[in-house]
Symmetry: D3
Subunit: 136 residues, 6 copies
Amino acid sequence: MSTIAKYPNPETDPRVKAVFDDIRATRKSDFINNMWHYLAFDPGLLEATWAEVKAVMATPSALDPMVKEMLYIAVSVTNGCGYCAHSHTAAARAKGMTAEQHADLLRVISLAGKTNQLATALQVPVDPVFDADHRP
Amino acid sequence: MSTIAKYPNPETDPRVKAVFDDIRATRKSDFINNMWHYLAFDPGLLEATWAEVKAVMATPSALDPMVKEMLYIAVSVTNGCGYCAHSHTAAARAKGMTAEQHADLLRVISLAGKTNQLATALQVPVDPVFDADHRP
Amino acid sequence: MSTIAKYPNPETDPRVKAVFDDIRATRKSDFINNMWHYLAFDPGLLEATWAEVKAVMATPSALDPMVKEMLYIAVSVTNGCGYCAHSHTAAARAKGMTAEQHADLLRVISLAGKTNQLATALQVPVDPVFDADHRP
Amino acid sequence: MSTIAKYPNPETDPRVKAVFDDIRATRKSDFINNMWHYLAFDPGLLEATWAEVKAVMATPSALDPMVKEMLYIAVSVTNGCGYCAHSHTAAARAKGMTAEQHADLLRVISLAGKTNQLATALQVPVDPVFDADHRP
Amino acid sequence: MSTIAKYPNPETDPRVKAVFDDIRATRKSDFINNMWHYLAFDPGLLEATWAEVKAVMATPSALDPMVKEMLYIAVSVTNGCGYCAHSHTAAARAKGMTAEQHADLLRVISLAGKTNQLATALQVPVDPVFDADHRP
Amino acid sequence: MSTIAKYPNPETDPRVKAVFDDIRATRKSDFINNMWHYLAFDPGLLEATWAEVKAVMATPSALDPMVKEMLYIAVSVTNGCGYCAHSHTAAARAKGMTAEQHADLLRVISLAGKTNQLATALQVPVDPVFDADHRP
C-alpha cells in the first residue's frame, strides 16, 4: 500500500539512474530499497534527499556510523515511522550493532518515552543552570 | 509554571531523602534538578523512576554513556519535551559531547525528522528483506 | 507569547458574549480561561469549539467526568501541549482527582509512553486474536 | 486489522443510512470509504464526525479545497496516521493536485519536520517581534 | 514484519519461561501475546518490562483497571502505536468497556487531539491560576 | 532558555556573515530571527539549513508561498514546535494570510488532529482503492 505508484523502470530516467548508481557505489551493494524507488517519481526530490542522506549518514563525521543509525532509529520510532524503524535497524545491524547494544538502545529510548511523559505532565520548569544563554 | 507544586522541604520525607542522597552519590554532585523535586510529591513514583534512570543511564552497559544521552536527546526532541532537551543536552555535554558532535547529532535527528515525513507521506512498503521474521 | 493578539474587550461582540455567558453558566464560575479569549478572534470557531467541548466534557455520558479529564490529560501530554496539560490537570482536580489518582495516572501514561516505543521499535505484528474483523 | 468489527449491513440503521446518503450526495460518488463504515458502530459519533468534515472540508470557505486537503495531509503525516495519509492524498488528487504540487508538498512538510527538530533541540527563544500580544 | 525475529521456542530459556508463567498466572489465560514473544530476545528487558506492566496495570491501585486501559489507549493512539491500540482495546474490553464507553473514549481523545492543535497553533499563554507553584 | 548559547557577534565569522547577508537580501529585511543566530554555532549546519529553506520556501514553485507557510504551520503545530508556530504564522501573515484564512487553517488542522485520533484508534484498514500501486 503506497500513496504514489512505484515506477516500473525508474532507471530509464538518467537522473534517477545516476542517483541509483551512486547509492549502489556508496553502499557497495546492488540493493536499492523501496524508499528510493518511491521518491523517484520526482527526480529533483530524489537527488536532494539522497545527497543529504549521503552527506550526513555515509560520510565520516564526528559521530560513529553505527551511533548515527541508532539516533535515526530513536527519532523514527518516536515519530512512529514503521518503514524507517525497519530500514535503520537493518542499517545499524549492518554497521555492527550487537543484540546487547540493540537491547540497550531499546532500554534508553523507551525510558526516554517514559520520562518525557512525566516531565510534560508535571510541566517541570527548566532549571536556570540548564540555560545556555545564562551559564556562568 | 508547573501542574504540581514544588515541595518546600522534600527531604523531610525519609524516602525522598534516600533517593536524593543516592542521586547526589551517583552523580557526585550536590545539585538535584527540578525533575526529582517535582516527582517527590509521590515517593513511590520518585523511587521507581530514579531506580530505572540509574539502572539504564548511570550503570555501565553495551553503549557509551554519552551515546545514551544523545539517544535520550533524540527521543526528547522528537516528543517536543523542552525540559528533557535541556537536561539531557547538559548531561551529554557533561559526559564529553563536543560542539562538533552536537552539530552532528542535530544533523542526524533533523534529517530523520525529514525522511520520516517522506516515508510516511508516501506510505513506502517495507522491503521484504527488512523483515526479521523471514530473513534467510 | 501568542500567535494571535488577545482581544481587549471580546464581549462587545454578542456572539462571543453568548459563548462566554454559556461557559460561565455551565461551569458555575466567572473565570474564562485564556483558550476562549484567544479563540474569540473568530466567533464561528469559538462557537463550534465550545459547543463540542460542552457536549463531550460537560454533559453526562458513559464515562465519569473526572475520567474524561484524565483521558484529556493523557492525550495532551503525549502531544506535548503544555497549555492543555495545565488546564485539564486543573479540571481533573476540580472534579475530584486525588494526589494518589494523579500519581497513578502518571504511572500509566508514562508506562504507555515506554511500551509504545518498544512495540514500535520491534514492529511487533498484531496478534490475529486482536483483529476485531476476524474475531470468532 | 481493526479494533472494532466492520458492520455487515450498516445502512439498516436509518441514522447510518442518512449519513451515508449525505456522503454520497455531497461527494457525487457511490463510494463510502472505510472510515465511515467503522464509525458506524456509534451513529451519534458518525453523525457528528461527518457533519464537521462536511462543514470544514466540503463547504466553500476562505481556503481552496485542494489546499485544505494538503493541510490535512501535512497533519496526518506528522501524526503518523497511515489511513489518513492515504485517504487525503487520494482526495487532494481528486481535487486537482498535480505531481509537481505533490512533490512540492513533500518538500515543505519534510523540511518542516527537519527544522522543527532543530528549533526544539536548540530550544530557540521566540523573538519578541513574533509575540502577537505585544506587537506594536 | 518485525525488526527482530520471533524466537521459535522462547521458553527453553528459564528466565523467559518464568516471565511467561507469571503472565499466564496473572492473567489467568494461556495466551501470551506477541509483545512478550518479541521482547524475549533479551530476558533482562523482558523481565523489567513485565515487572512494571504487572505492577502498574495488574495491581489494585487508585484507578480502576478499565480506566487504566483506556488511558493506555489514549496515549497509544496519540503516539500512533497500532500494536498498542489493538492490545489495549482488547484489554479494556476484557475488563468491561462497553460500546457506549468506547464511543465516549473516542469522543474525548479525538476532541483532545483537536483542541491540542488549537492551543498550540495559537500558543495560548497559560493562565496564572493554573500554575501550581503560585496557587494561593 | 536555550540549549546552546547565542553568539554575541556571529557575523565576525565570514561564513555566518555570508548567510545572514543572503537572508537579508532574500527577505528584503534587516531582521534575522533567532533560529539563524542559534544555528550559527556551526557554520556548516547554518549554511545547509538556510540553503534548503531558501530553495524550498523562497523560490517560486508549484505551490503558492502563503500556502507553503500554512503547510509549515500545520506540521509545526502537530509536532508541538512553539518557535516554529510563531515564526511561520508571522511569515504566513507577511505573505497575505487573512484572519479568515487563519481561522480556516485552524479549523482544518484541528479537524485533522481529531480524525487522525479516530482512524488510529479504530485501526481503520486502508481501502484497496487508495493503494496507488494497484490503482487500475
